[in-house]
Amino acid sequence: MTQRMLEGFKVIDFTHVVAGPHCTKILAEHGAEVIKIEPLGGELARMLPMHREERSGYFIQHNVGKKTMAMDISTKEGQDICHGLIKQADVVVENFSPGVMKQHNLDWETLKEINPDLIMCSISCFGQTGPLSHLPGYDWIGQSYAGIIDLTGEAGRTPVFGEYAFGDVSTGAHAYGAIVTALMHRLRGGKGQYIDISLVEVLFSYHEMNVQVCTSSKGQMVAKRSGAHHGMLAPVGIYKCGERFVFLLGVNHQWAGLTKAMGREDMLKDPRFSDLIGMGQHKDEINAAVEEWLESVGDADKAVAILQEHGVPCAPILTIPEVIEHPHSKARGTVRTVNDAIFGEVQIPRTPLRFSEFPEPPDLRAGTLGQHNHEILREQLNYSEQQIANLETQGIIGSKNI
């Protein structure tokens, strides 16, 4: 087997739930040795659905490829083990609330003394500094503070949020990129360093337009949630067709294709629709024409086929089962199956980084709670069986088949 890109690099992982674990999962998928240290009761993700024989599919998805240790890091013995492992490690990743690592003598100031070449990455909701930094956070908390949820939903009604964790997962991917960048810096002769990644900042960077448009127009152009249709451009939005929904976009050069597809070439010559601004001002007329045409077609698949023939960007709005079964997903291997010893087969999304040198994602498994306690203490820190037994008796380390 070809050596994967990060083989030989060691990561000590203090993360939980999604953003941090997703980052260390990508590190593991690139060949790094990841040792995940969990509290004795297991991290929160182990409590999230689905469960089979107490084993969480959610945990498996975000923790494949990691060795697992469970220990009480509030004890001196637990901290000694962590320090011993970190001395030999390249990377530490954590996503506690800021301050927690310091409380356990695992903060950057302490760790860089132990290992000056170390790269430490802290992932948090609000960042390590600033007035909100101490607050607990999740993806949707970050989305609220980043101005994302406010832009999602029908105008004048309760906003809605997407039922997926794009903030957490993509923050993990940002942290991954930052860590490999810092590793590269070290490889070229640079020092170890500390990386501060915040969910709110990652989410805020997704405003590809809203921030500059708001300030550059001196507050004249402020994005607002506008439900199924774009607030400023038309036709850009979600339309009903038969019993289903279709997204389509017919601005710029696609407008000609769309009018042809609809048999409404007359609209091309209408001066009201001669440019983007005019089309935006008359979006009600345009949307009505699109709706009328879609109603006449009556079938979403048929409408999508006609639109695609005319080069109009469009898509059926798929449900999760439809995405899993879609021929394109099948052809690309977008859904991966993990074979878990307890849970059985579990389907998860494939990590989106595809390399020609490493075309297949590695076949990795997720550890049970504390599965590798003995192996790591014995092999990496030369603990004797007696010492390990003592740690277990004192309740400093533990394991459970979950």
């Binding site: 956070g137 101005g147 990129g177 590809e208 506008s226």
Partner: protein, 402 residues
């Protein structure tokens, strides 16, 4: 010149346009790489997007900081020859045309690999380079519809809702950045060049932190469907109203105990209907009523948020983009970056979420005018004489220097 950032000395030839590809190469530039952006003679279409000042688009500036602009007619063999010569001495090529376009322009991986065997080439696309959907015309929202993201956003049973920003494109750019740095790291470690296939669809689908495995593992019994402002499987995880303002509250693990104590409903701790996040969701009507009753006792939403924060229950106000920009936390963290562009003037954009202790300040970068660096790149990097450049300009191979 002393190195200013981690990727100093790395050269990138950038054929990207719109957002996903340009965001990737902007990140490369922000990390110190030399990025030469090759544009068609009419320029990247984002040069026409709002807001315009001094003949420059704020949108273009945001996504193209730090790049040199070389403007060529890629249909002409002379222009392709220039590209090949530049790529001979480059480390990375990034492009985000529809699959097939680079081959037509003699710039596909097979051709470029033969020119530069150590090259890393990254293609960013909506649907990926393979599979039945590969060549469909696309934008962020098309990927959102095909990945099941759009279908999971909006009110239950009603229209799906658009999200008000291009989180797919920006985060796909960040994924591409991470993949490129991994491949560079591999090359520095003695590995070869390689080809990277990064798709918006893959990235968006990976954001289903829960939906795919839950659907699969429950044999379709738990079918993820959009559920407006409440999470479909987990409670409490929802948007609530307090004195006319919206806030989001999420309480998992021990935060659930914190919440019920705070709202004076400790009886729920012993109630089997509220034993875990899934059963709390089944009985969420009663839970929502209890939370809103408690919220109703506050004079305003800020007081409620303070109380939730002090009691370690994750909660957030649903902020608009302008509220985010004026929030004290965001100001202290510098989440908004002000760019001074010599044509546009001051421009506010989201700051890069990558924060390194060794490189605390972002580089001061400028976005080029169309073809601004034609002469510089051709004469300094490919030793063209002024006469040769003049001939290229006269024959329409490259644009006239602005």
């Amino acid at each position: 010149m002393p190195p200013t950032h981690i990727l100093n000395g790395i050269k990138v030839i950038d054929f990207s346009h719109y957002v996903a590809g340009p965001h990737c190469t902007r990140l490369l530039a922000q990390h110190g790489a030399e990025v030469i952006k090759i544009e068609r003679l009419s320029g990247d279409p984002t040069r026409k997007l709002p807001v315009q000042k001094g003949g420059t688009s704020g949108c273009f500036v945001q996504h193209n900081l730090g790049k040199k602009s070389l403007s060529l007619d890629l249909e002409k063999p002379e222009a392709q020859g220039i590209c090949h010569d530049l790529i001979k001495n480059a480390d990375i090529v990034v492009e985000n045309f529809t699959p097939g376009t680079m081959k037509r322009l003699n710039m596909d991986w097979e051709t470029l690999q033969a020119i530069n065997p150590k090259l890393i080439m990254c293609s960013v696309s909506c649907m990926g380079q393979t599979g039945p959907l590969a060549t469909y015309p696309c934008f962020d929202y098309i990927g959102q519809a095909y990945s099941g993201i759009m279908g999971m956003t909006g009110d239950e049973g009603g229209f799906p809702a658009l999200s008000g920003m291009a989180f797919g494109e920006i985060s796909t750019g960040a994924h591409a950045y991470g993949a490129i740095v991994s491949a560079l790291f591999h090359k520095l470690h003695g590995g070869g060049g390689q080809y990277l296939d990064i798709s918006l669809l893959d990235c968006l689908f990976s954001y289903h932190a829960m939906n795919v495995q839950v659907y699969d593992a429950s044999n379709g019994e738990m079918n993820p469907l959009r559920s407006g402002h409440q999470h479909p499987f987990i409670a409490p995880l929802a948007i609530y109203q307090c004195k006319g303002a919206y806030l989001i509250i999420i309480a998992l693990g021990k935060q659930w105990t914190n919440l019920v104590k705070l709202i004076d409903r400790e009886d729920m701790l012993d109630d089997p209907r509220f034993a875990d996040p899934v059963s709390r969701n089944v009985n969420r009507a009663e839970l929502t009523e209890a939370i809103e009753f408690w919220l109703d006792g506050f004079d305003d939403v800020d007081a409620a948020l303070r109380s939730l924060g002090e009691n370690h229950v994750p909660a957030a106000p649903v902020l608009s983009v302008s509220e985010v920009m004026s929030h004290p936390h965001m100001i202290e963290r510098g989440i908004v970056q002000t760019i001074t562009n010599k044509h546009f003037g001051d421009l506010k954009i989201p700051a890069s979420p990558y924060r390194y202790s060794l490189f605390p300040e972002p580089l001061e970068l400028e976005a080029g005018l169309l073809g601004e660096h034609n002469h510089e790149v051709l004469s300094e990097q490919l030793a063209y004489t002024t006469e040769q450049i003049q001939i290229l300009e006269d024959s329409g191979v490259c644009s006239i220097k602005p």
